[in-house]
Symmetry: C2
């Protein structure tokens, strides 16, 4: 699309700002800007302010490096969570995915990425040192490595496991296997192979 | 998706605000919010402020009802545009579409919608009275009706034409026909039929 001609510089600015967001083109950005113009002044004010506040006020939890409004995040500060069980994840999205399962009662450690020489991400860019310190100084019983099953994830798992090998801590990883609801014939060979090797005792149900 | 659990209220607010935008779900909203967190504080500040300023400061051009930063928009204020030629459009998007063609040198009149009883939009919700006043008081030679070719568009065209019938003004409408680049066999019957009725003299080129 050629250079759009806007009758309003204010509108043009907002469209340009929206187009910088991932996956948003000029047309969608314009639709968003025109949508905002139809909303109440107060609610648009709130929208703009919430964005500015997020960037200015959000911090990383000093324990788990998760995004937080306070020094220590709600999960770390929750007395009903088990602080001796640490789940290591790549990003805050993974924290949310695991929290949504309602199956995990421990705390987290957010690495902020995985080791990926192709993208120029080395161990020093991640929060591995903080994890090591946390494990060695705290009362940690188990570290669950919950990274992607990619070469980068495996490399990072290996790096972390080596860093922690002197600490008296159990290191585990997520169970891999055929997804619930999947048909066998469509599962990939590696997943299917692993799910045979790591087969589990059959449970008769309750 | 169930209720997401955010570790930060600030983040949750921004995600909720983004999800109110048309076509944006929770996951995309989260992606946008996390994207903003990676940007410079100053540029996020500017983003938030541009949204607030748009809603507070943008006005309708008092002549053509287009969005504008000033009382009279840039198009109406441009001395090189022909103020005796008014193109009537539904919305600011249509102004932008026509401006992009670089083929139009007149001014506009933005109706703010079309007559649509199904959506509860009547003539009183549009800026038809302002158009009538503009035509009757000003030095207008021609009004081009550039609305959608739908029943609502036709109704609105008819309503406007009747309102303007006492004014000594030429009323025209956009040429309809087979699109440039289209193959005849795929053109719909009505468009093809009209393009035969309104056939034009063949031009040998320059």
């Amino acid at each position: 699309m050629n250079q759009q001609l806007y009758s309003s510089k204010l509108l043009e600015n907002v469209v340009n700002e929206f187009s910088k967001l991932p996956g948003i083109g000029q047309k969608t950005a314009l639709r968003m800007a025109l949508h905002l113009l139809k909303q109440e002044t107060a609610s648009v004010q709130q929208f703009g302010e919430s964005i500015i506040r997020l960037r200015n006020e959000v911090v990383y939890c000093k324990r788990c490096m998760n995004l937080s409004d306070t020094d220590v995040c709600e999960i770390c500060a929750n007395p009903r969570r088990d602080p001796s069980l640490i789940c290591v994840v790549e990003s805050i999205r993974d924290v949310m995915a695991i929290e949504n399962t309602m199956q995990y009662n421990g705390v987290y450690h957010v690495l902020g990425g995985i080791i990926s020489p192709m993208d120029g991400v080395g161990p020093a860019d991640l929060t591995v040192d903080a994890l090591e310190k946390r494990v060695k100084e705290g009362d940690v019983a188990e570290v669950i490595l919950a990274l992607s099953t990619t070469m980068e994830g495996d490399t990072t798992n290996f790096y972390i496991a080596r860093k922690l090998k002197d600490a008296a801590v159990k290191i585990s990883t997520l169970a891999r296997g055929v997804s619930i609801g999947d048909e066998l014939e469509y599962a990939d060979q590696i997943t299917l192979g692993r799910s045979i090797i790591h087969r589990q005792p059959f449970e008769m149900g309750e």
